[in-house]
Amino acid sequence: MISALWVMIGISLLLGAVLGYSSIKFKVEGNPLVEKIDAVLPQTQCGQCGYPGCKPYAEAIAKGETSINKCPPGGEEGIQKLADLLGVEFQPFGEGAAPKGKAVAFIDEQTCIGCTLCIQACPVDAIVGAAKQMHTIIASECTGCELCLPPCPVDCITMQAIGENITNWKWRHPVIIPIKAAA
């Protein structure tokens, strides 16, 4: 009886030591859920969710401080992905948070006074320019977040919709009749 008790105590101490050791040794840095949520978010860094960027929004979602339907650039598909990831119900967009079409910023070079305010506002460094020099957008890097619009003192930045062209054209969900040889 006593020896059995000692064996059990010994085993439990050993296992406890192993668990304690591994919890220190293999400690996961940061919250892995944040990374997963951040991977789903579209990284426009637009702040439409009310957080200063996608990562802070991801952190807020992970903590359960906010809902998953606050990211218009991610679209409904983004919400669905977040819902699947977090195992929660899909929530439709709230009032006035409908997703817009993709767009890139465009600087009217005639009007630009070279104040660098937009450069400071751009979250992804997609604006090139220097003080009192003309600024321009690197279209391929622009996420279309519109954060450069408010600081511009001369309103020379406009958003230009990315239209459908031959490189980004997509097949539609089938409605087209296939070609079939007459037998």
Partner: protein
């Protein structure tokens, strides 16, 4: 006789090839204008290097290849560039793309060109010439040939020359092999040399006995060593690269693996012909053989300049008035062309004039009954019914799990489907949706990286600034300490005291000097008024102090 293999599935659609093989290849006359798209190949669009109004010569480069995967575009005849703008092109989307419009001057004047010394020119130079001559795969995929001939990564044992031409109606390769077999084989020899391949296998479907005979004759006549012309059974889609490789070599190219990794590379016969013209004669790819068939009076193959408007080409074959649409390619994989104005491109192997009689409207699609006939005929050994199910419900992850990207879009599944489901359309839809998501993902990753770097930079700048400030403070403190250490404490205090006193004295004199300027030279009435106001103020102050004094006992 070499042992032939077979691939899974396949169908036997009516071939309709006889209509267009009755007469030899005809030279299409110079068209009234040429609309030459700058993107006729897989990869980056060529960059226009001519100006509107410029006179160009036949064979002159008008589009410079851009980036690694690209190919040059040339003026197909001499004439004047009248426009470089967006025009409708032969593409599924029916959207416009950048084209160069040339009005021919009728002289057909060549730019100076010469063949290369094939024996002594390094391979890299030959490949460069292929790129600059705009040679791309003419079987339909239009992949730049200079990239396919780069044999650095893999040891190529077998070169397969594809003359299968399995799609119904199309006969351009058939006629090319009948009439220009010798040149095709010369091209194949160059390709073999570029790839360091041992053997060359030429696969031709057995419904083209004349082509097989012509090619075999050419092999014997020119004494090509280790080169075999093989007649393979007619079965759609035996002309698919993986399928033909399977038939000729028995090698099954696994999912997600390139045939080059298995030691096989595949080129179309027309590509081999163009390689020969480009390297041995210095002629860029300016024209190709196009089958014009279907609802026409004289179905025929034409040697057509790239950029010839579709309308002018089909008129040569006598397009009938009840034609309602033009199909580029065959009936299985072809695309509907958006307008008669589009220019013939390097990918245009066939134009089928379609009429409601020839291709009756498809019956409406019925629900899938899971008969799996599609799976029986799928040459890629996929499960088309499952792919259809997942694509229809936008379950793209699952389509990829079911190897959607191994689908060659041959249309065999849709051909046999008893429910008339447009299966290939679903696969194309799913593929393009997946591609878009991949593009978005890439863009998001780039944005994340740039955003994180920006934050890192801002943080670093802040730290550097703080450090500098701290450094300065430390330096100032050190200086003060040094000064303090140098001078006795009492002296320092005295000096400070003196400084303070001086400052107070200065302030007092300044205050005395700076009395209000507007009180000088006043009339006696004004002075009296001011005095009255001052008196009132004094009284109010007094009352306020009294009230304050009164308040205090209450507080206690």
């Amino acid at each position: 006789m070499r042992k032939l293999f077979s691939f899974h599935g396949g169908v036997h659609p009516p071939t309709h090839k006889d209509e267009s093989t009755r007469s030899p290849i005809a030279q299409a006359p110079l068209p009234s204008k040429l609309v030459i798209p700058l993107s006729q190949h897989v990869g980056n669009r060529a960059v226009p290097i001519v100006q509107v109004g410029e006179r160009v010569l036949k064979g002159q480069q008008i589009g410079r290849p851009e980036g690694k995967l690209s190919s040059a575009v040339h003026a197909s005849t001499s004439g004047t560039v009248t426009a470089i703008d967006m025009q409708l092109v032969a593409h599924h989307s029916g959207l416009p793309d950048l084209c160069v419009t040339i009005i021919p001057d009728g002289k057909d004047e060549w730019i100076t060109h010469a063949g290369m010394d094939l024996k002594n020119t390094p391979h890299s130079e030959l490949r460069k010439q292929l790129r600059n001559a705009g040679v791309v795969g003419l079987g339909g995929a239009v992949f730049p040939s200079d990239q396919k001939t780069d044999a650095h990564h893999h040891q190529i044992k077998t070169l397969v020359i594809n003359g299968a031409e399995c799609e119904p109606y199309i006969t351009c390769d058939d006629l090319l092999m009948r009439e220009r077999a010798a040149d095709i084989l010369h091209g194949a020899e160059i390709l073999r040399e570029l790839l360091h391949a041992e053997e060359v296998l030429i696969g031709i479907e057995d419904n083209k006995p004349e082509a097989v005979a012509a090619m075999q004759f050419a092999v014997e006549q020119d004494k090509h060593d280790k080169m075999e012309v093989l007649s393979i059974p007619t079965m759609y889609p035996s002309g698919g690269a993986k399928q033909l490789i399977r038939i000729l070599t028995g090698i099954e190219v696994a999912a997600g693996v390139r045939s080059t990794e298995m030691g096989v590379q595949c080129f179309n016969v027309a590509t081999a012909y163009c390689v020969w013209r480009a390297l041995a004669h210095g002629e860029p790819l300016l024209s190709r053989i196009v089958t014009v068939t279907g609802n026409v009076t004289d179905a025929q193959n034409f040697d057509v300049l790239i950029g010839t408007p579709l309308d002018e080409l089909v008129a040569l074959a006598g397009s009938k008035p009840d034609t309602d649409r033009h199909i580029m390619g065959g009936p299985m994989m072809g695309v509907d062309l958006p307008a008669g104005t589009v220019g013939i491109t390097k990918a245009t192997n066939c134009i089928i004039e379609s009429s409601p009689k020839l291709f009756p409207p498809q019956a409406p699609a019925l629900p899938c009954i899971r008969c799996t006939r599609c799976a029986d005929v799928c040459p890629a050994e996929l499960q088309p019914q499952d792919l259809y199910w997942f694509a229809k419900s936008n379950n793209f992850g699952k389509t990829q799990e079911f190897h959607l990207f191994d689908c060659i879009e041959c249309g065999a599944c849709a051909y046999v489907c008893p429910s008339n489901i447009p299966l290939v359309q679903y696969y194309r839809y799913a593929k393009s949706e997946i591609h878009e998501r991949e593009r978005d993902k890439k863009a998001a990753d780039l944005a994340r990286e740039r955003h994180e770097y920006r934050q890192l930079r801002i943080e670093r700048d802040k730290q550097e600034k703080a450090e500098k400030l701290a450094q300065k403070e430390r330096e100032a403190a050190a200086k003060a300490a040094q000064a303090a250490a140098a001078a006795p404490v009492a002296t320092q205090n005295d000096a400070q005291q003196k400084l303070i006193e001086e400052a107070i004295a200065r302030a007092q004199t300044q205050a005395a000097v700076a009395h209000p300027q507007n009180t000088e030279a006043l009339t006696p009435e004004q002075s009296a008024e001011i005095a009255a106001i001052e008196a009132r103020r004094a009284k109010i102050r007094e009352m306020a102090t009294d009230a304050g004094a009164d308040d205090e006992p209450h507080k206690q």
